[in-house]
Symmetry: C2
Subunit: 349 residues, 2 copies
């Protein structure tokens, strides 16, 4: 009966949660890492737990990227903050033409965080890293006082060598190039929002969070130098990538609204909420600018990959005195698409 006494219950509540002392760098920190984190992420680089990991990279140019993840809630339909952190970082490397090699993982935990939640997130990190073909090579864990943090935030950095012969950059984009997106848009942002707000109507919407490494590898293999620019449309959505593209290439972007892949559930939910799907975050999609003569090959490569089945060519770049993004609407009208000003959906990644 002891297990049910108030004192035992209180004890078990404390034992199942993160304490400030877990972040002190002492014995409890060592235990937390050795028992709950390192074994799950196990690999030869991480095991020594030294101050930094030693990577054997082929000589050449190396890409480095970082992202901080503050998504709320940390678990949502289709994923969680751990999967998001791994995928976001490998995707940033992949769209630059790099082969993701290793990640660093920094956790900031709030005192009182349930250890069971931490366990699930670490499991998810391990699974996503395996899926993406990378290792977590080094990390850091800090704890902040109750109500001074926000449950769990994760910052990952990633490194990987640039693939040989790949040249990606906005400066290679020309009028006549086509714009391709690898699948249905706006799923991640709406999935997180529905989880946060407890919106029942959109339970069918799941985050698209996924590592794009192998999809991008297929696209580059199919399109060669015809693939000129890649970007994953996360915060700010497709609208932000297209605005960057127009400005960077000093061209106009024309997009056919009817060509943009989007599920009926997402379209209707966004409409009901008064949100523009073009500005909603994606975490498993890639926008590509491709020379027109390579477009069919790249599209075919996408469609034969599980993550690119709904890929579509959505528009093109055209000469223009003003670098604008124009959406040709379903009824044939034209509207200017702007970079969203601020935060329509905060804390989405």
């Amino acid at each position: 009966m002891t297990g049910h006494s108030p004192i035992a219950n209180r004890k078990s509540q404390i034992e199942n949660r993160i304490l400030l002392a877990h972040g002190g760098g002492g014995e409890l920190t060592r235990q937390l890492l050795a028992e709950r984190i390192v074994p799950k992420l196990s690999n030869a680089l991480l095991a020594p737990l030294t101050d930094s990991a030693l990577l054997d990279l082929p000589s050449g140019r190396i890409c480095l990227t970082t992202d901080a993840y503050v998504v709320q809630p940390v678990e949502f339909p289709g994923g969680d903050i751990g999967r998001l952190a791994v995928c976001g970082t490998v995707n940033d490397l992949a769209v630059c033409g790099a082969r993701p090699h290793a990640l660093s993982l920094a956790l900031v935990l709030e005192e009182g965080l349930e250890l069971a939640l931490l366990d699930r997130v670490i499991d998810s990190i391990a699974a996503a890293a395996k899926e993406a073909g990378v290792v977590v090579a080094t990390g850091d864990t800090k704890v902040v006082e109750r109500q001074r943090g926000d449950g769990l935030t994760i910052t990952t950095a990633g490194v990987g060598p640039l693939r040989e012969g790949v040249q990606l950059g906005m400066e290679r984009v020309r009028a006549g190039d086509v714009i391709l997106v690898t699948g249905r848009i706006a799923e991640h942002g709406l999935a997180v929002m529905s989880a946060r707000e407890g919106l029942k109507f959109s339970t069918a919407i799941r985050s698209d969070v996924a590592p794009l490494v192998s999809l991008i590898e297929s696209m580059l293999a199919a399109g060669g130098a015809g693939v000129k620019f890649l970007r994953d449309p996360t915060r700010g959505g497709l609208a932000c990538v297209l605005a960057d593209l127009a400005e960077g290439a000093k061209l106009a972007v024309e997009v056919e609204e009817s060509a943009v892949p989007i599920s009926a559930a997402v379209l209707h939910t966004a409409e009901m909420l008064g949100l523009d799907p073009l500005t909603i975050a994606n975490e498993g999609k890639c926008v590509a600018v491709v020379a027109s003569d390579a477009a069919d090959a790249v599209l075919a490569a996408c469609r034969s990959h599980p993550l690119g089945a709904c890929a579509a060519i959505i528009g093109r770049l055209v000469e223009s005195p003003v670098p604008l993004v124009e959406l040709i609407t379903r009824i044939g009208g034209r509207r200017i698409v702007q970079r969203p000003y601020g935060e329509e959906l905060p804390r989405i990644c």
Copy 2:
């Protein structure tokens, strides 16, 4: 007179602070980066603001490290969270024998953070990076709602190539090797604590936060292969490094209390607070294990460097059936030094 009206005051209060929309990935995010962050950290790698930075590293082995910084307050005597983040990361690379090359910088800002404070921290990051000889190559900025964050947290990752011919590792440590510390201990932890608690008695104590790159370069040049192991005694202090060393090398560590460099102010403050200086964090010190025949040369190299003027040999490694750390006290007694259990001084880095 308009400038003094309540509405104008309220407006200026809002304008001088971080808004949620600064983290949305849209126009305000772009402005924040373009106006307040990128120009100060200006370098060729960061300027393109792509998803990842392209580094030209010499071929060979690359070190990768990361740290999350949650220090409170973010400004303290002798430094701030920005200087701490840069120094902590370059020092983690340096003690592994790497030449720090580039950093990533992820900021998590709390809504309402004063822009003036952000400006000071970014200035401090720029200055510390210059001092350490590294560039901030890539970054990310997120904003969390008021009271869901803690002002400003920073996560940095760092990469750098391993110096040629350097072999550092606990497995090279042998009985007879000596232990050296590059200066006075426990200054960072006490400086932060005094700033946090408003303790007037210790205004003389300033954080030692500094980049150790050039000091470690001098030590390696002087000691060659005789330098076997380096570690910066941050969270957990000297006690934690010595405990790791005893366990890792399966030897006993003997330290002479009277040989450990410490200022009178630190010693007395720690005593008054009932804290053991051996467990208090440092951010500009290095512990080295050196072959006895290289000890004089390494000590001399330290002492001729501005950051190593108070360097001292504090102990040695001896054969023992039990891997313990023993402190030989000023009066000739012996006490076992343990890895601190949890958090004596929380949020110190």
